[in-house]
Symmetry: D2
Subunit: 349 residues, 4 copies
Amino acid sequence: MSAAVLHGTRDLRVEQVPLPPPPARGEVQVHIAKVGICGSDVHYFEHGRIGDFVVEKPMILGHECSGVVAQVGEGVSHFKEGDRVAIEPGVPRLSNFASNYYMKQGRYNLCPDIFFFATPPDNGSFCSFVNHNADFCFKLPDNVSLEEGAMIEPLSTGIYAARVAPVKMGDTVVITGAGPIGLMNLLACRAAGATNILISDLVESRLEVAQQIGATATIRGGADELKAAAHEVTNGLGADVSIECAGHPSALRAAIGACRAGGTVVLIGMPPEDSAPINVNDLIVREITLRPIFRYNNTFPTGVELLSSGKVDVKPLISKRFSLAEVPQAFNYVLDNRATCVKAIVDVE
Amino acid sequence: MSAAVLHGTRDLRVEQVPLPPPPARGEVQVHIAKVGICGSDVHYFEHGRIGDFVVEKPMILGHECSGVVAQVGEGVSHFKEGDRVAIEPGVPRLSNFASNYYMKQGRYNLCPDIFFFATPPDNGSFCSFVNHNADFCFKLPDNVSLEEGAMIEPLSTGIYAARVAPVKMGDTVVITGAGPIGLMNLLACRAAGATNILISDLVESRLEVAQQIGATATIRGGADELKAAAHEVTNGLGADVSIECAGHPSALRAAIGACRAGGTVVLIGMPPEDSAPINVNDLIVREITLRPIFRYNNTFPTGVELLSSGKVDVKPLISKRFSLAEVPQAFNYVLDNRATCVKAIVDVE
Amino acid sequence: MSAAVLHGTRDLRVEQVPLPPPPARGEVQVHIAKVGICGSDVHYFEHGRIGDFVVEKPMILGHECSGVVAQVGEGVSHFKEGDRVAIEPGVPRLSNFASNYYMKQGRYNLCPDIFFFATPPDNGSFCSFVNHNADFCFKLPDNVSLEEGAMIEPLSTGIYAARVAPVKMGDTVVITGAGPIGLMNLLACRAAGATNILISDLVESRLEVAQQIGATATIRGGADELKAAAHEVTNGLGADVSIECAGHPSALRAAIGACRAGGTVVLIGMPPEDSAPINVNDLIVREITLRPIFRYNNTFPTGVELLSSGKVDVKPLISKRFSLAEVPQAFNYVLDNRATCVKAIVDVE
Amino acid sequence: MSAAVLHGTRDLRVEQVPLPPPPARGEVQVHIAKVGICGSDVHYFEHGRIGDFVVEKPMILGHECSGVVAQVGEGVSHFKEGDRVAIEPGVPRLSNFASNYYMKQGRYNLCPDIFFFATPPDNGSFCSFVNHNADFCFKLPDNVSLEEGAMIEPLSTGIYAARVAPVKMGDTVVITGAGPIGLMNLLACRAAGATNILISDLVESRLEVAQQIGATATIRGGADELKAAAHEVTNGLGADVSIECAGHPSALRAAIGACRAGGTVVLIGMPPEDSAPINVNDLIVREITLRPIFRYNNTFPTGVELLSSGKVDVKPLISKRFSLAEVPQAFNYVLDNRATCVKAIVDVE
């Protein structure tokens, strides 16, 4: 079958790789249909690594995907051939004490040993077929397209952020960064009932998209403007929740500054340097909780519901479509159009 | 000034009563504009009592109200004459150890000593002017009418139920009883992101209203039909949350039956007899929590946000309007049209 | 090997059964050392069933157990031969959608498909060897005996109750029923920092044990006495948490009555008839949550810590010891001495 | 009456000041008995300010206090002359929108307008009599001395930290900093059921006190040693909760490093410079929540319970006693003996 394999920095090749074996017990084999290109895919493409995760041998990229069940492994009762599914890319390997500890507590995203599409050394899903644990596949209802299904993965970050914050109906939320992650958070916060959603970025075109999908205010400015805007709509209290998606210390400062006393700042964006200066005394005096999140757990059923009910519409975020053969061009396109390309989707079939 | 005073069972008179004194320190005087008629008002009208609360001397009815600030008491900095406000009818009296205990914990609805409009012996707001603690008045933005403002009180029950359950985005919720309280809960659950909202009642006309305001399924049937409907949309799990608004043991049974293992049943409806038979073993084996709620706390700011943002539209629930002089007829109308009259509003001015 | 097999009502035989096969992947084979006799074991012995669970073919009883690892299956890295372990008797079978749903959320006790020692048709652990999922075995430190290790299972109910309530330091807790479950809850509540623990029962000898292990008040009386006692130590508020362990409607009424407004009543005891009359209006007016619990999850690591640290001492609850050959007599002894026998332990070796 | 008044840096004078007027409605007048010397008192003494709080006119110091009710104001029903009380030093002034917002939610410590003993410009309690809101006075049972009562204030920080973390029974807790606040946290964590409490400091004498009052391990070392020690007792997971009490960036780093994935680091210590470098990526990848706390709320009833029940013994932390006339010497003593003086108590009578 064809697959988009990363061989080295900026060396992404569409080539033939062996078909997977029949699905093992508890697995399904999925014929991949749509795969979104994520910032992390692009980061591997550009740098060959993300932090400690280094691409040391050729690796198939891609982890935001949907497809159609092609084969059903033994012991799987809730899927049949032809079922359309969204795929949750991370499956804990319950091979050690700590992985099990987190699994048994329902926080499986923290398992130290986890299979994850396109995280070295695990291959991703820019290919025709994958075998995957059936419990991490989620049936799509008829009114959710495979393209939408592939967007549940990036939407999951927003769902998880809104859940753990938590964002409640009537809340005022500040989002720093209007890239794909920030926009997905915007959609999730709206679905969770937030009535004021303020989003900041330095790039005007991104803010325009934000406005189209429901931001109540867009701020192209710094911490002071964001704080002023948040205070204006909250009687001077500040945001109930800030969600930092930009991955820059200045955005983190702005997110904290715009948050009310007793509020929560969700941390998603990873700054280029590990360390950021944080005003600890301000956090203490205003009792502002920093709640970092790593990926997500138990979000896919929610994602399916939000799309199926129409509470969330991800379609406006699809900027561009490519075929599997065009994946290398797609990556270069995304790299060259960061300001305007929200989500590029690859049609694998 | 004029006021609608209950003198005895079915003896409600619009008569002249003295104006209130100037507002005390911390109070505002509000010129009442709109007052909704609540089931509890009607219950006092019909029976002269609700449980242990007995109307022993003439009492002004009415507690779902909005108005315009007419005078500002000393020490009140956040209101000025002319401000349009919704009024939260219950104000804790911090006169004893237990009231203070609950106040300091933010659960002021549980204070054993609380002033509450139209709860004997406290007068209500079917009258031209009331003095009220400014901290329990909430400014209405320009885009929220006084009529909508008067609806925040009944909406509060729904907001509080959805918050404590909690109802989360993507949830399936079952509501038993499509009277005013059930419908308000429906609106709140939608705002909180519920994607499936199933509501049951025995009266078809009520279910039609429910459908108009967003129910995803209406069930005119018993426990079995409700459970089947809830299971159908949840892969056989059942509802995340059930909200019992009917106040009948059979509805409570249906609410529990339709709820999934590990879910929560919010109890709002008070059965005519205190005691209801509950299948304790079923609750245990399926670990279903019963979470009763009494009135609400900290809901008015949320209510203002939901109306102002358009997340909730209460206008379709207004069935009929009356003047203050017509209040006695209004009560009789409500009594005679329980199946079709959702909310009757009195224009006090 | 020898095993205590239930063949029918009151027909419990110690007989030879085949040894288990070598442990499968992910399992360990445990040489059972100590097994406690639980009320549910006795119930099967006496009635041949518990609710819908009917003993239809010979079944080995016993599920409160500890032992020594005899063989380690493939893929198990955190155990070695000779490790002393406590065994969590319930292991979810991840064979269907719903079981997985609950597992992924960390509420695996709610999985509809679960292996559980001595719950028909699954055999229990009154025998020399069992194979068990290694992730549900917990290493005992040197200072925790195998006998204590076997007590972690019944202690788990108390740990779970105190966790979900939650019981917090400084709390006043009321426990209804001073049988083994009530006493285990008492120990757990003490460990969680409760400062007043009031326990009620009709049997004086049980209350004496309760007093020895830390009850601050014992009440041999009804709802009025219990409420009065709870009010006396809480400035008239009532208990923060009540835990119903007696399984009688009158005890449930007493547990609710002694609880403060806004408090929680944990339901553990299963009444002989499914249905109990509950004063729903009282629950609502005082906003008292009923929180039923079914078995427990994630309690064994806590149990090991509590025993090892000395925060909990279960040894005073061991009333009597038997050998495996004496298991039938042991069951009859327990049946005949319900008032005085807290926990009988069988030494399997 | 006599009072210890701070006139300027290191200029603390015991002098005559006017008696307070009779207590107002809702107040009691308390004859002060015991007052502890807090680090913040000493900081004002040494520097004349703490952050934005500047001593601009003479101010009575002291806020950790207990006393005897001397007069009861109107409307106070739960106190009488002669009652022994602990005094919570902060009383919200409900004079504006934001203060009310936080009060109504039970998070009154976040009210922007709050009276607080010895926080400029509010006078403290190193004097014979104070008038105080009765709802912030707490009756001491007979078995709690006035000296212990004065310790409830510093203990409150520990109670609040353990509550919000939350510290649960069986938890492993790491505390950085074994000064008075660290030691109070140690006591509270023990009471909350923590079974491993590791505490670090650079000063051996403080660690000795920590060991005497229940630390299970004391670490005189850096982040690596602390992490290793936490991992050793948790099967390699790390601490459930870390509590940073030292107020140094290196201690914060150590507290984070010793915490397990998914755990919480409570921030109490305020670093001398507002800003500290924090490894945001590590927080994200391990999903470690930073939960700062500012003072406390609703802790005094818990504190009274913990002392009265014997769950907490604060007496070993009293290093030295002084009379009111000796307060200036007491402050110098505390300054000169930071390593060994945990808590100095002033006997005001």
